[in-house]
Amino acid sequence: MGGLTNALDHVLPSAAFQLARRFADGATMWCVAPQWPEHARHLAVEFVHPVVVGARALPAVSVPGPDPVGALRAAVRAGDIVAVVSSAADPVALELVRRGPAWGATTLWLATGNGVMDSSADLTVRVDDADGTAPFDGRLVLHYHLLWELTHVCFEHPGLLERRDETDEVVCVTCRDDGRLAEVVRVSVDGHDVEVRTASGHEHADGTLVTPLVPDDLVLVHAGSVIARVGAS
């Protein structure tokens, strides 16, 4: 299991700390595993009904069904956590971590596989999986067990959880110099007035530069205008 070393050094511990901080602020963790729904359920039940007597129950919900993007669009509130468990190339996972910032969510991606990975998740934990068996032989389970165990260690340090310091920039997208990520909610008939959802709430932007826009498009908003459409959708 030598491949665990990289993920366990700092990456997984930092992810656990960020989860603890979000939970302390009232986050709900939404768990999705498009390829292996049982792993989403296992991750959620760890937090909701801890095996260690006396450990705090934390709000985590597994999201089954054929359209997790649609389900989470409705369910996620700003400040929540979207936790995705999948292989590193899963298209639904990619879609979720791309949209997380527009919903104001912290995104955690527990990704199996050894290939080059393009992750825009706030927290990416790679699970070494050269032979494709980590989801079945206990190695993936180990990683989210450790996430749960370390998150609860963090709760023993409430002073650190309450502090606001440079680690917050991990989830900050509002200062991206190329614009803020947003999701289109509705578009006026002439296409000029676009209501968008961003990390800080709903707002209106000018849509004349990028047409035609349709609801659920992922876009960049800058200086009151939609300046680009993001990604494939």
């Binding site: 700390f17 009904h49 494709g132 079945f136 165990e149 370390l150 963090c154 310091d165």
Partner: protein, 215 residues
């Protein structure tokens, strides 16, 4: 002076790096313990796993299916094993059904006849003699698993149990195969049970390949 009242104001509470170092050490320790438990258990139970794999393969050759079940995290491990058999990462699929996935069935049975019967009633409804009942528990004491194994044995099914600690009541329940992970950490038991399930799956395929070669 007020440390006993406000431990979170302690100097250490300013030191995020120290906490992250502690967490990293802890993660490595736990991962090492998990890997060592997986390795020693696979070695200890090698004979039992092969014997179970032979019996499971025979049932499958006769047209049987795996029926898997468990509670909580173990219910997801049961679902995972069924998924591994039925929709494997490679190799041919084998019939396996998890009795944990249908909330309509689970809540109907839990509400109408009680939670101890949620798996046994499904075994009674679905099982044929060549099927295999596979239950996952960390304590080995879950009443609904023990009842499901009783119902399975009454119908002539092969029974395979995964347990932890000292095997609990499952160890004395007369199962055909009871695979016990000797640990008292629920997390490490579950990780090792997954590794055992994976090893069982590989061995079942090896048995089936062998029986085809000799057919």
């Amino acid at each position: 002076m007020t440390d006993f009242l406000y431990p979170f104001l302690d100097h250490d509470e300013d030191d995020l790096d120290a906490l992250l170092d502690d967490l990293t050490r802890s993660a490595h320790d736990k991962a090492d313990i998990s890997a060592a438990l997986v390795e020693s258990t696979l070695e200890q139970l090698d004979g039992d796993l092969h014997a179970a794999a032979r019996d499971v393969a025979e049932c499958l050759v006769r047209g049987g299916r795996l029926l898997t079940f468990g509670n909580g995290g173990s219910s997801t491990d049961a679902s995972g094993l069924a998924a591994l058999f039925a929709t494997p990462p490679h190799g041919p699929p084998l019939p396996a059904v998890a009795l944990t996935g249908d909330s309509a069935v689970l809540t109907a049975l839990g509400n109408d006849v009680g939670f101890p019967l949620v798996f046994s009633r499904q075994v009674i409804a679905y099982a044929a003699p060549d099927d295999v009942a596979v239950g996952f528990s960390t304590s080995g004491n879950s009443a609904n698993l023990l009842m499901a194994f009783d119902a399975a044995r009454d119908r002539g099914l092969l029974t395979v149990g995964f347990a932890g600690y000292d095997g609990g009541d499952m160890a004395g329940a007369g199962l055909d195969h009871c695979l016990v992970v000797r640990s008292d950490s629920i997390h490490r038991i579950q990780e090792t049970q997954a590794a055992l399930g994976f090893a069982l799956w590989r061995m079942v395929h090896a048995e089936l390949d062998g029986s085809h070669a000799h057919a």
